[in-house]
Symmetry: D2
Subunit: 375 residues, 4 copies
Amino acid sequence: MPGSSFGNLFRIHTFGESHGAGLGAIVDGCPAGLFLEEKDIQTYLDRRKPGQSNISTPRKEADKVEILSGVFEGQTTGTPIAMLVRNTSQKSKDYSALANCYRPGHADFTFDEKFGHRDYRGGGRSSGRETIGRVAAGAIAAKLLSELNIRVMAYTKSIGPVSVDMTKFNEEAILNTPTAMPDEEASAEAEVYLKKCMEEKDSAGGVIECKVFGLPAGIGEPVFDKLDANLAKALMSIGAVKAVEIGDGVNVAMMHGSENNDPFMTNEEDFPEIADRIPIIKKTNHSGGTLGGISDGSELIIRAYVKPTPSIFRPQQTVDTDGENVEITIKGRHDPVIVPRAVVVVESMVALTVADLLLTNMTSQMEHVRKIYNP
Amino acid sequence: MPGSSFGNLFRIHTFGESHGAGLGAIVDGCPAGLFLEEKDIQTYLDRRKPGQSNISTPRKEADKVEILSGVFEGQTTGTPIAMLVRNTSQKSKDYSALANCYRPGHADFTFDEKFGHRDYRGGGRSSGRETIGRVAAGAIAAKLLSELNIRVMAYTKSIGPVSVDMTKFNEEAILNTPTAMPDEEASAEAEVYLKKCMEEKDSAGGVIECKVFGLPAGIGEPVFDKLDANLAKALMSIGAVKAVEIGDGVNVAMMHGSENNDPFMTNEEDFPEIADRIPIIKKTNHSGGTLGGISDGSELIIRAYVKPTPSIFRPQQTVDTDGENVEITIKGRHDPVIVPRAVVVVESMVALTVADLLLTNMTSQMEHVRKIYNP
Amino acid sequence: MPGSSFGNLFRIHTFGESHGAGLGAIVDGCPAGLFLEEKDIQTYLDRRKPGQSNISTPRKEADKVEILSGVFEGQTTGTPIAMLVRNTSQKSKDYSALANCYRPGHADFTFDEKFGHRDYRGGGRSSGRETIGRVAAGAIAAKLLSELNIRVMAYTKSIGPVSVDMTKFNEEAILNTPTAMPDEEASAEAEVYLKKCMEEKDSAGGVIECKVFGLPAGIGEPVFDKLDANLAKALMSIGAVKAVEIGDGVNVAMMHGSENNDPFMTNEEDFPEIADRIPIIKKTNHSGGTLGGISDGSELIIRAYVKPTPSIFRPQQTVDTDGENVEITIKGRHDPVIVPRAVVVVESMVALTVADLLLTNMTSQMEHVRKIYNP
Amino acid sequence: MPGSSFGNLFRIHTFGESHGAGLGAIVDGCPAGLFLEEKDIQTYLDRRKPGQSNISTPRKEADKVEILSGVFEGQTTGTPIAMLVRNTSQKSKDYSALANCYRPGHADFTFDEKFGHRDYRGGGRSSGRETIGRVAAGAIAAKLLSELNIRVMAYTKSIGPVSVDMTKFNEEAILNTPTAMPDEEASAEAEVYLKKCMEEKDSAGGVIECKVFGLPAGIGEPVFDKLDANLAKALMSIGAVKAVEIGDGVNVAMMHGSENNDPFMTNEEDFPEIADRIPIIKKTNHSGGTLGGISDGSELIIRAYVKPTPSIFRPQQTVDTDGENVEITIKGRHDPVIVPRAVVVVESMVALTVADLLLTNMTSQMEHVRKIYNP
């Protein structure tokens, strides 16, 4: 089935394998008149590039994006924006040894079961490189949101047992630390932990948190296309994510209603300067910014739990394609933790989800329809 | 936007408000030739009915389903199956007092922001009664799956601090305890806890776990329509769910790759009786039954974290529709915990997701296409 | 597959069989705040009712619509609008004789081939009664359009050899003649022709024309979701339609570019009163109101060619479900021509298509997005 | 809105402008295991290339396709197949003169109305070059169909007043004549006619007919996704098509039911060699191969009416982007008739529609589901 599309109105289609000719995405449905250049996209792609630190694979990938269509004289035209990133640094021979066996924690076995054969080079379509299309498209969604003063910010919340101290939150550190943590001390500690993992030929997991600022109330659709439902799908569709939570998340199961409910209040006293535009606010934000699946005007807060890199360099038991038990040792170049490079992927998926539902909401009221057609 | 549809090939559309004429669903895309009668659906609906225990609202709702179309001589015809449940026991006057204020933890405020006005009676479309459409449709999906020997089973895993002891797992207890826990002792303990909540005019949250048995490997689509991604959306779209996890879930963030990876092995020794049909199995199931978003032949395991009922009987601070701070006290009839009645909703959403991706997977290989068209 | 949905943003789902419990539709995506009552829908349904003249089947069908959801205090709420029409006058025994044979020109054979069995009573889902869902939904689309001063008008253009004289166009006659022709003389002539058809136990075809007035330029999407492409699908999906044309239609094949091109001109001289709002117009309208699949500000003109009623009362050769050659004579109550009652179906499908693309177009430009979110 | 996607299960996304970096398509949903190489696609693209005769534009376009993903070791993998054709021969300066005015019969005006600005070079997204994506994708659909012994064949039926004599039908002539007519005499006559048009700085229209052989009965969905409805959309979405008909098409409006109905008969006498596989056939084929929107086992017959090329070299009246009346004379390189190069576009769109509904139909019956999952 066509499973490489995401979104309804701001809709993307991605393509590409780890070791094929290239990867990319089409964004179909971006409104015309958005200022856009390749640099906007490249900045995002550079954040997921490997080889940028000693806790990342030493693979070098240029990952230069080319816009093939949909932009004219620096602005989107309303037609599909196709983007292509050529594969350049792929070493297929590293993988030929694995053509005939199923790596634990990877999709080799399930692809064979589903499709009858698979592009085994570097994981093919199930490679982490698949996220290039998401990030290229996400950069455009983020640009659109920024025009409306909506900002999406993701960062590493924890790696293994090392968590960020939110009282020391420093946004610049997200881009400057190798861990994408907004806390340089925690980041240094996490690096020590990761080096130990690498010495032990093992890997680590972690948590990514994402916030959205400036989102107006009313975004998201009742029932199935709730803002949180679509965000959950968006994040759980990222290869290594095994859990997703909104606001207080898993902790709500242990809370009382009297703790979890966020009281409403008028905005006059606390934020008089925006009371005119946003007259009603919530006193707390246990909900994480959504009520009934619709944004409630508070910050959106969402977290993704990421499993440890499945490619580890210890011998592992598995089965070959003939069904025989074998022991394998994975070679190649792999990050000891997926989290830091996945931060921009999370940010992209959140931007895509929010942009899509924001456009969707434009048709929610007759008053909006009249604003466009009977000025 | 049309937000009341779910699924691609086994596709449902739900409708209805808490206090309108009725609620229901259309199932469009159910294969012809499935034996189906109203009883199959009523059995599911009866599991979500209120008024069945002293920890549930004393509201009585008949919730009788009528099949309007799509079934002829006891079999589905391949055309849309429309189902209707009339509202009968609704007391709108209970709610008129709340027409002009925003209940904390509810969608009153966000609906007004989005749509400009709302059906305030009983929460309208954001009422828990909205799940009637999901359950009616889910019953049909479950019936389809059962024909293929695939079984979906959900139950309460915990309520507040009280968790099920899985070593005492007793499937019959799911239907027989008021908590839907598969452990009578834990259930009794949870009842005590809930009564205390009610005395304190408060409410509780909890966790629902769902398993799928007999699912063949290969179900789910790479990239965005991953089995786990669609399940995450399915469960997060249920009103009170704030977190979703697959397999080891949130715990993967603290695990090493060497712990989290599930080794593959041939099936000959452990389960020789099914080795012919399922030659390869996983030694462990940290993944929860999916690799790369595609079912891996193991049990599917998924959990939903449910927030405490927002309707509590204590005075709460909030804002009225004029933007004035007010204090409200909610009346009406409300469960102290959402979890027990949501178990069948989770089961329904999982059945719908799995049935949809199962049909979807039929076109994954030319070999399947040839099986249908060149017998 | 789910084949009973139409539209993307103004999206409908229909259901129901000729002799089942009832038929209807869900409209999902109608903006909140549209004034709507059952009467708006009933008026449309009454136009497709049978038994209203001597050239129509004497069957009496009440076809009373009930709104089940989505409307509160006289306005749409933005949630799904479900509508139900109960079947009341069905005589299933008329059809049991035909359960085992395939009527020529009907879908009996193809339904059996596709689904393995079928609801043979009155054609089941392939009955003309299926259009009840379209008309109920179309009435809402038309109401929405009328709020924006967009008007859809369909009428019978010809029946068999009898054509309307457009110089005698009289809009009132559409609702007042049994043929739905806007020309009473032609209508009388067509009645004579149809009576002769009935005497000869035969049936007739015809042409329906539909115009849309007041549609702004810019509606429709480039490439696949062109306004004309979606209209063609909309009309060709009506049971008996075998050809669809826009503007000069089939005649363009014989024209030169110099004849077919419509020159643009400024509007100042011809229509100075609207020159401010519509500064550019076309001198002619061979295009039928669309260029490149997008409305061009002229009247939209589209025609559907309708085949003769397949149910005729002469003996016909066919095959039974055992594959034996047999001769059948159809009984029951059937119109000698489908056209007059299909006029409102065409009008409904055009209204649905236009309303959908009108909402869709709201996200075409950043300027529109800013109008909604940065007032 | 995302308007550049077509199909549900065999789904394509196209992109690209006349004078941008390139054009192409993604095919998402092609079953794995289809043998495919670039040559299969190039053969189709070569049929739409210009510069191949004296009645075609002298522009030379290489239009070489590159497969970027989704094919491994000569077979499709089940993941998206992305294809790219670079633009190489574009002369943008030819068009800069037209940046500020609206060509009659073109989409310049409507794109500006819709999007606020447009890529005016060569028509941008509304250029005939847009069909490259359709043809590249259509070639894959045709390959899939050929594996199932289903064959799609389109040809020119008429150009202006010159029609093919079907008694002289010669399939080879379709590829060998410059007109794509299956009749060399008619083709020669049409060439004479077209040269006269060119001398008069004018253009011509025509008719394309397409047949599908070997399609099993049962393909197409009741109600909105009828085979004929989706075909009508497919063909009407091609830039210059203004009418579409199935089977007897526009002529049905003048026929009686007794003429238009196709009697069924057992297949034993006429085609005993296939009676086992196809026991029931139709004696005639007025329906054009579909009943109730579902294929009936007969040849599928569909026709598209194509308007004359709007780019003519005579002076034409129009309006500039400032709203002033102006006279323009189009330069550049344009075909005097669109029909011959559009034949392969029609064939592609029909192949795409049929392949999509063929996959869709796989889930129509429980018996099919069991064939895949319970072998």
